[in-house]
């Protein structure tokens, strides 16, 4: 049987593309699913195939050294960094989208540059600086390090929402007699919500997860959750980190799904 000349390459190319795409998605999910399987295995080691079912490793998360205080520090730093950076980013992204001034492209590139800077470079530069000014190894210096790390994310998402925004609504509010502040508060800000939420969320999650900057800025009792998890993984071989990982992914899945359901953050992050 002879296939038509033009339909043959079409189907082959498109089939290969789809096949590779599904394999890549499988690759993305594979380790996460296997970690969940391991976390429910009673065995003391990572072992396949799993034998007995148990929740013991979930209870053992509490035995990771300093996990409680480290998590508390991580949450407080991530929350403070996300709030402060989102606030700083609102002003900066409004200035960039609403005003014309020389050097704007350069300024934008500079504000977004921490994303591509090697994290170890940021860590090294900051710890030298904090030692020099005598403020090293404090909660505040850790917070500042994390702010430098995450500030570009809310700038990026807010720039995206501001460019997509409809300026005529704001003009309408002003022409109907609203003050500048009132029109910003009741018209502009609600439209910025998806950009604000996704910027805040990414700032929070990236700070919460950071290891390479924190490792330079912490010492003694000042420690973060990723650092304690990392230390546990390098000293123990039991599946407690698998239980922790599974919980982490479940929590992140819930947060992102809720944010998408309410604010459509996914569609706003793709431009």
């Amino acid at each position: 049987m002879q296939m038509s000349n033009s339909s043959l390459p079409i189907s082959i190319f498109e089939r290969i593309v789809s096949l590779v795409a599904w394999l890549a998605l499988f690759f993305l999910l594979f380790p996460v699913v296997l970690t969940a399987v391991v976390s429910l295995n009673a065995s003391f080691f990572i072992e396949f195939p799993p034998k007995d079912f148990s929740f013991r490793w979930y209870w053992n998360i509490a035995n990771i050294e300093a996990i409680g205080s480290a998590t508390l520090i991580s949450v407080s730093i991530a929350l403070a960094a996300a709030v402060l950076c989102t606030a700083l980013a609102i002003g900066a992204s409004l200035a960039i989208t609403r005003y014309q001034f020389p050097g704007k492209a350069f300024l934008t590139a500079f504000l977004l540059s921490p994303i591509t800077m090697p994290m170890v470079a940021v860590g090294i530069a900051l710890i030298q600086f904090f030692i020099m000014i005598g403020a090293a190894f404090t909660w505040y210096s850790l917070l500042i390090g994390h702010m430098v790390l995450v500030v570009a994310y809310p700038i990026r998402t807010l720039l995206a929402s501001l460019t997509l925004m409809n300026p005529s609504l704001e003009e309408a509010a002003l022409s109907l007699g609203a003050t500048k502040f009132r029109s910003f508060w009741t018209v502009t800000l609600p439209q910025l919500k998806p950009g604000l939420i996704s910027g805040f969320l990414f700032a929070f999650l990236i700070s919460f997860d950071n290891y390479p900057i924190s490792v330079f800025l912490v010492r003694g009792g000042l420690t973060t959750m990723p650092i304690e998890i990392f230390n546990y993984i390098s000293q123990n071989f039991d599946p407690t980190p698998a239980a922790f990982s599974t919980l982490y992914v479940i929590v992140v899945t819930i947060i992102i799904s809720l944010a998408e359901r309410r604010y459509r953050i996914v569609s706003y992050s793709i431009q």
Partner: protein
């Protein structure tokens, strides 16, 4: 007063420029002051430090010196690590691109509901802890891990194969980390292409492959550029992934720089290594952008 006085004319120009831009200034000032103090000053200080002698050097002096850079370039260990970091980063970018472009094309074809679900999976992957994701590969690649269980069960080998602590394990981890950073900008650039272009190509007799190579791919180059640059920069400076999935014999450059600081307390040498890495990465990215602009006439 002479209005023609150039100094005064400059002043009056300044005032009108100022009144037009004062709003922008006050909106930007808090962030700029913050970044100036805690980002620019520390970096300038670090670069300065990299031109000084450290306490372990036989020579001493308060003046500026190229000693740390000469040491960086003449050390055969750092040369090897730098070459390995570059090679693994290129490999990571290549594999990530080959896996991510098809995902972006697939997203374009899917029904909205399935598309949202896959985008959510990519976002959750992006937001899940790097340590958590690397640990997932420990579970898969460990001696008693999933892949070895499969290898033993299929009789490919009688004893577990050492998959962990190798360059391959690190590249797998880096690719896994990079896929979301590559998919999103490429998908974005595909969304911006008018569907009518592809339809026109098909109606003129172009097949899927021709439409892809002549229309879709060239128009998506800005997205490809964004994704590959981010992936390359993230891989070149990778620290946690080689720490968790590699061994001392597969270490990457960030580890060597961090080790100078954390264990040797040698700030100047560590600073010189990380400054070298940053400058090299920047040069490669700039050269890459030039090639895309000149050779492929891409708008990047």
């Amino acid at each position: 007063m002479d209005i023609g006085n150039p100094a005064l004319r400059g002043l009056s120009n300044n005032t009108s420029w100022w009144s037009r831009n004062a709003g922008a200034f006050f909106l930007l000032a808090p962030l700029l002051i913050f970044l100036l103090i805690f980002y620019v000053v520390p970096f300038v200080h670090m670069i300065q430090e990299s031109f000084r002698f450290s306490y372990i050097d036989t020579q001493t002096g308060d003046g500026l010196t190229l000693h740390q850079y000469i040491k960086t370039w003449s050390s055969s260990r750092i040369g090897r690590v730098m070459e390995r970091t570059f090679r693994m980063s290129l490999l990571t970018v290549g594999i990530t691109l080959l896996l991510s472009y098809p995902i972006a094309l697939l997203l374009l074809k899917l029904k909205p509901r399935l598309r949202t679900i896959i985008l959510l999976v990519i976002f959750i992957s992006l937001a899940s802890s790097l340590i958590v994701r690397n640990y997932g590969w420990v579970v898969v690649l460990a001696d008693k891990g999933a892949l070895n269980a499969l290898i033993l069960a299929l009789g490919i080998s009688d004893t577990p194969v050492r998959l962990m602590y190798s360059e391959i394990a690190i590249v797998i981890g880096l690719v896994h980390f990079s896929i979301p950073f590559m998919v999103l900008p490429i998908y974005g650039s595909l969304l911006r292409q008018p569907a009518s272009l592809g339809e026109a190509s098909q109606s003129l007799g172009g097949n899927a492959w021709q439409t892809f190579t002549k229309i879709t791919l060239p128009l998506s180059l800005p997205g490809v550029f964004g994704g590959t640059v981010l992936t390359f920069a993230l891989s070149m400076s990778a620290y946690v992934t080689p720490l968790m999935l590699g061994s001392p014999s597969s270490s990457m450059i960030s580890q060597v720089a961090a080790e100078q600081l954390l264990t040797q307390l040698n700030f100047p040498f560590g600073a010189a290594i990380i400054v070298t890495l940053t400058v090299l990465t920047f040069i490669v990215v700039a050269a890459y952008a030039t090639v895309l602009r000149r050779v492929f006439r891409a708008d990047v």
